[in-house]
Assembly symmetry: C2
């Protein structure tokens, strides 16, 4: 018998992660994930459109959170200030789930289909930020650049953070990565080809 409630998502995700790490994503079924979590297959599909989605509910939440922070940023903030402030804050909230996120990343990194889904979700986050900036009056040109640049900093910070769980706090890592990105772009230009 399936139960119905907002608390099904977490247990379904944890069951999927556990089963992925035990047997690999391709080898497991939605029925098995649901059974492991104590829910019905029907409950699974109430929450997730397909099998991979069970690992990406958090990224939908992250997208909504970042977009809401960008939308609520002070009018005086530049587009990039709004975006990096949003990612710094939203990313900080991930820390309470560090252990689950590390296991989840191991499952994703072992499966090309999940890696592709992760890239798609990140692209959707960047597109949603672009849209939110456009609503604030930012030009398309500037909105795309700020969204892409902010998402880059988030992605690299996340990679560094997940690789060393507990060693570094999110906020310090985020600032360091933002500074690294500024340094790498500072004054760089393509070399002149040899004549």
């Amino acid at each position: 018998m399936g139960r119905w409630g907002p608390d099904a998502r977490g247990p379904l995700e944890q069951a999927a992660i556990d089963l992925c790490l035990e047997r690999g994503f391709e080898q497991i079924t939605v029925a098995e994930i649901a059974q492991r979590a104590g829910f019905s297959e029907r409950t699974f599909y109430r929450h997730f459109a397909d099998k991979p989605e069970v690992l990406f509910g958090g990224m939908g939440y992250l997208r909504d959170h970042v977009v809401s922070l960008v939308t609520g940023a002070p009018a005086s903030a530049t587009p990039m200030e709004a975006v990096v402030t949003a990612f710094e804050q939203a990313g900080s909230d991930l820390q309470v789930n560090a252990e689950r996120l590390r296991q989840r990343q191991d499952a994703i990194n072992a499966t090309p289909e999940l890696q592709a889904r992760e890239l798609t979700k990140l692209a959707h986050i960047s597109e949603a930020i672009t849209h939110a900036l456009r609503q604030r009056g930012t030009s398309e040109h500037s909105a795309v650049m700020a969204a892409e640049a902010g998402t880059l900093v988030f992605r690299v910070t996340y990679g560094r953070w997940i690789a060393h769980p507990g060693r570094h706090g999110w906020t310090a890592l985020f600032h360091e990565t933002l500074q690294d990105a500024g340094t790498v772009f500072s004054g760089v230009s393509p070399l002149t080809p040899h004549p």
Copy 2:
């Protein structure tokens, strides 16, 4: 009857693009693509591992070209100089195929499966650049940042260029995008939260 030769890839790609734009990627088969191009299905699979790959042969070539330029950059070049010089040069070569690439992008943008494949290919290019930089002695930390930052500039430049074919030369757009990225990162830091 299938023919065999390096000149099968271009015609197969063009046939796939044409069929995508006529009927949509999901609606067409490998057999139809091969037939439209005048080749056998077997020839198709000699060149491409699956149906989506027919649209991404050029990205494999781009990856190899960029990696070879990064590897051959002068020892005095910084990692980021090596990467942006490589993308500027390799991207410039895309201009001769502008019309085909624009049609190809229309086909990709209409199909989530192809958009996901494109993101995966871009991630592979960034990973291959990271590897090439590591071979040059760059630390993992710095190699990831330069590869991700350079790939960002390429991706945004490509988006701007493909949206306005013929209006802007690749090199000018690439320099402008690189400057935009530098500006967006320049001196930015997250806003202090309101107390």
